[in-house]
């Protein structure tokens, strides 16, 4: 007997969002669940951006820090290395050094870093603040101005500080990343608030908040799946944004990614364990709907690209 394929037809579709000016990338555009090309259209691959910081990665575990030895002292050489040597399709510049508990760098310094990095690369740039609610407003406004005309992704706008960041993205023609904390309703509400300011919903990317394998991944996974289902099955236009998985920052923070084998014998060899932690976190969230992934280790990125090749 023949098998009747139980295809779904969805009423909704994910917006397509483009970044960059010279070399560009496009994410989203699909009218089906992730990689379901057997029943619909999946025009674009997920994009992986390499994470680069405005300050050296002192707090990163050795496994991933040592990969950037010699280039990570300066965001420009670091970003160029990722683009030229690692073939990065995008760079995510995290202005973590602006955090008041860190180097407390000023908004002007951050803007200067953004300019320098932009001058050195031709792939799209994603600009991230330090997730400090007040500081990010001045830092991201300055960064958005410094990057005017470069069609960057800028984030993250939170419910507590979105207004100034949205205004800066509007004025300088950037795309915006909006983050809420692991709750589909909060995420929807933030998207609505942002579009009510006149921001085009098709220029928005949602970050439902990432979490690492073993440390809340189940929550991120299900929130992403639910957001995507709302977009497709209910044709909810406020939920049809592509989604971001800010993978590296969460995956490399947990014990499994940094504890030596002597401290964690059940985890075996540290180096592949750290890489696997980042890789598996990314792979799982990609299956839930993340199509822009920010990652750190080149081996993780390589494995994920091969996985995407097999899935497309």
């Amino acid at each position: 007997m023949a098998f009747t394929a139980p295809n779904e037809t969805y009423s909704g579709k994910v917006y397509q969002v483009e970044a960059g000016t010279e070399k560009t990338f496009v994410i989203g555009g699909e009218n089906v669940l992730p990689f379901h090309s057997f029943e619909g259209n999946v025009p674009n691959r997920p994009v992986i951006a390499y994470e680069v910081q405005d300050v050296p990665p002192e707090d990163w575990p050795d496994t991933v820090k040592k990969v950037y030895d010699g280039v990570s002292g300066n965001p420009v050489t670091w970003a160029k290395h990722c683009q030229d040597k690692l073939n990065a399709k995008a760079i995510a510049l995290r202005l973590i050094g602006t955090h008041p508990d860190r180097e407390n760098r000023s908004a002007e310094e951050a803007a200067a870093t953004v300019k320098e990095v932009l001058a050195a690369i031709n792939v799209p740039l994603i600009i991230l603040g330090s997730n400090h609610i007040e500081k990010d407003t001045s830092v991201l406004v300055a960064a958005a101005e410094a990057a005017k005309g470069k069609n960057c992704f800028i984030g993250k706008a939170l419910e507590e500080n979105y207004k100034t960041i949205v205004a800066a993205c509007l004025a300088n023609n950037h795309k915006l990343i909006a983050m809420s904390q692991l709750d589909i309703n909060l995420s929807k509400q933030l998207n609505i608030l942002i579009t009510q300011m006149g921001f085009d919903k098709e220029k928005l990317v949602t970050d439902p908040m990432c979490s690492a394998l073993g440390y809340g991944l189940d929550y991120t996974y299900s929130v992403m799946e639910r957001i995507r289902l709302a977009a497709l099955t209910q044709n909810d236009v406020t939920m049809q944004t592509p989604m971001l998985g800010d993978i590296g920052m969460y995956a490399w923070k947990v014990k499994e990614a940094s504890a030596p084998e002597s401290e964690l014998p059940i985890g075996g060899s540290l180096e592949p364990r750290g890489i696997a932690w980042e890789t598996v976190t990314a792979g799982a969230l990609m299956m839930a709907g993340a199509e822009l992934l920010i990652m750190r280790h080149p081996e993780s990125v390589k494995a994920l690209e091969k996985f995407i090749d097999e899935l497309m």
């Binding site: 090309s37 394998l213 189940d218 060899s269 364990r273 890789t279």
Partner: protein, 445 residues
């Protein structure tokens, strides 16, 4: 497919005799439809009705068990496509491939890895579940020898015997039939013989097809031959095919009631690139495989895959929790520090792990926050000053310790004053925010 109350009613005696304890047959039918009553309560129901209702109430994916005893692996019985709808039922099993063409020492090495793979994570025991023995040599005698040797070395570990040669299958199955292995490799050309072996030894049969059409034909044929416990391989090998076939199969079984594909799925993740293999296995975990076959089981890879499986298969409505009580870590004397945290499993295991690492004996008071983390519990009103004070008072700890100092998590420092107000004679000390600061904090006191 589930039947409606009215459809069930049509099959009942319609005498309203009340022997089932319900006022009418219709009322009873409604209860049956909601699965709140069992058919045997009606003494007069016909055999015909029993058969129809039995089939309709069977789970859309047949339960199949691999192996016997404590380490047996249950598969099937899934009812949904997305974990937020309802908890996924049986965590997918990991099987490592051993080829009968490998050297004895290589084989022993892998079997050792399987035997030593068990770990404890957030209170659950996790391990490599099965060994997949393939007849790569093509030699029936060799296959039987390797199967016997592995069964002797790892008597409790469930086995999957992979061969398409009925003679090799018969010999190997016979040697280990009491362990209820899965015989994998029934295809279009050997289906009759393989079904015969599975049936005579009462074991389950793995069906190896080349497409969903041929899979449907094969499972129907084999069912007709009297074998009901099957595990399916649609022939999907790339990630793209795996996602497509697994999705189609799960949808067809769960949403369309297609019984021909209502069996657990076996997937093959083996790749030369071990990180890619880890990702293919992750795909199997998230997207509906019941068994994932791996080429190797390094500890780091196991830990990542076990953890993902645990994340995907936990109940999305009920976080993993530990019991509310005062746990002793090390051998705390009467003046050892007393710390408090929430009963979210993850929180408890991180915090207790750090305390153990510090080697400082401690009493850890774990309060029931309904499985919420410290901060979430606080925000939800379950980790509050009055609840903490009440818990400490009721616990009787005051009789056990010589001091009156309670150490609270740094993230809820705001609670310290209010707890002191409610716990007369107690002093509250604010600990570090992150658990990784606990060792230094304890040692420097």
């Amino acid at each position: 497919m589930a039947l409606s109350g009215v459809e069930i009613f049509k099959l009942l005696p319609k005498t309203n005799c009340k022997k089932c304890g319900h006022p009418t047959c219709l009322a009873f039918a409604m209860k049956l439809a909601q699965r709140q009553a069992s058919l045997d309560l009606c003494p007069d129901v016909s055999e015909e009705a029993k058969k129809v209702l039995g089939e309709a109430s069977a789970p859309p994916i047949r339960p199949v068990t691999l192996g016997t005893g404590d380490k047996a692996v249950k598969m099937g019985e899934e009812t949904v496509l997305f974990r937020h709808d309802k908890k996924f039922v049986h965590p997918c099993a990991f099987a490592v491939e051993v080829k009968d063409s490998m050297s004895d020492s290589e084989i022993n090495g892998v079997v050792e890895q399987v035997l030593n793979s068990e770990i404890d994570r957030v209170g659950q025991k996790l391990r490599v579940d099965a060994i997949f023995i393939s007849n790569a040599s093509g030699d029936a005698g060799k296959f039987e020898g390797v199967v016997k040797a592995i069964a002797a070395k790892a008597p409790a570990v469930p086995l999957i015997l992979s061969t398409t040669n009925p003679a090799a299958a018969e010999a190997a199955v016979k040697a280990v039939a009491d362990k209820k292995p899965l015989l994998y490799g029934a295809n279009e050309s050997n289906a009759d013989a393989m079904a015969g072996i599975a049936k005579s030894h009462k074991i389950s049969l793995g069906v190896a097809a080349t497409s969903l059409d041929s899979l449907t034909a094969l499972t129907e044929k084999i069912k007709g031959l009297g074998v009901e416990d099957m595990v399916m391989d649609s022939g999907a090998r790339t990630a793209k095919e795996m996602l497509r076939d697994n999705t189609y199969i799960r949808r067809a079984a769960v949403k369309k009631g297609n019984k021909s594909v209502g069996y657990p799925v076996i997937s093959f993740a083996q790749r030369d690139d071990v990180m890619l293999e880890t990702l293919i296995a992750s795909l199997g975990i998230t997207k509906y495989s019941s068994i994932v076959v791996l080429s190797s089981v390094e500890r780091w890879k196991n830990l990542a895959l076990f953890t993902l499986r645990q994340n995907i298969y936990t109940d999305p409505q009920v976080p993993l929790q530990v019991e509310q009580k005062i746990y002793k870590i090390g051998e705390p004397s009467a003046d050892a520090p007393l710390m408090i945290t929430s009963n979210f499993s993850l929180t408890y295991f991180i915090v207790s792990g750090e305390i153990e690492g510090s080697k400082v004996p401690v009493r850890l008071a774990v309060m029931d926050t309904e499985g919420l983390s410290v901060l979430t519990g606080w925000a939800a009103g379950k980790f509050t000053a009055s609840k903490i004070a009440q818990f400490i008072k009721d616990s009787g700890i005051e009789n056990e310790i010589s001091h009156r100092e309670l150490i609270i998590p740094g993230y809820v420092s705001i609670l310290s004053g209010a707890i002191e107000d409610k716990l007369a004679g107690w002093k509250v000390t604010v600990g570090p925010r992150e658990a990784n600061g606990i060792a230094v904090f304890l040692k420097s006191r």
